[in-house]
Amino acid sequence: MEALSLLVAVEEAAAADDAKNANAAIGAGFAYGLAAIGPGIGIGYLVGKSVEAMARQPEAAGMVRTTMFLGIAFTEALALIGFVVFILLKFA
């Protein structure tokens, strides 16, 4: 009887570990996915407007490209923050 209750306790502990790992994996997936979607929309909008500006005023293309490149890098920083949260949740 004692052995049976020990077996049940081990099974419950294993199930709890599985649930914890599954929750961490789901959380990590959401963190990376959501963190990539936002900057994706942002970069799309930024580049779309920059291309429009370059098409309308080709003489200002150099300035627009400079600010566009920095804007892309700043927007991408958000995705990198989400990525770091993901690797810490998933692998650390």
């Binding site: 098409a55 490149f69 890098a73 990525f83 770091v84």
Partner: protein, 152 residues
């Protein structure tokens, strides 16, 4: 009233020099200056593993900036439409490459993931803010090039 745009402009190369490469190399040059400090701080906080991870993180950030600049400036030499597509897909490609670069070393004995993550974020944002200062000054003084501080 906005000026109507000629649709053919989307198929022409973009004007201006390859500013992305010069911005990117500027950031890498400044990053090389501060890299020993970042590595030392990570080494103190996370030990030897932290120092190696920090070095790897700095290399990832440099490669990311270089690849972004290379993709955008190459596409801009071809056409405006391609620039738009390459920028969007380049974003996905670079995120994927960063994931692969981290995934490849996640179980390495010398890796410290908190040090790697902190280095990626701090180096990326720090170099951008540093560069932004110089770019803002040079854009503000664009008409007076002789008075303006140099970009690098």
């Amino acid at each position: 009233m906005s000026r109507p745009t000629d649709p053919a402009v989307m198929t022409r190369p973009v004007g201006g020099d390859g500013v992305e490469m010069s911005i990117s190399t500027d950031m890498i040059r400044r990053g090389a200056i501060v890299a020993p400090v970042i590595v030392a701080i990570c080494g103190v906080v996370w030990g030897g593993d932290g120092a190696w991870s920090s070095l790897y993180g700095i290399a990832i950030v440099f490669a990311n900036f270089l690849l972004a600049a290379l993709l955008i400036s190459t596409a801009a030499r071809i056409s405006l439409g391609l620039l738009m597509g390459v920028t969007m897909f380049g974003y996905l490609l670079r995120l994927g490459l960063i994931f692969l670069a981290v995934y490849a070393v996640k179980d390495a004995p010398w890796i410290s993931l908190p040090a790697l993550g902190a280095t990626i974020i701090v180096t990326h944002l720090g170099l951008l803010f540093w560069e932004m200062k110089y770019v803002a000054i040079s854009l503000a003084h664009s008409g007076r090039a002789s008075d303006a501080p140099k970009l690098s």
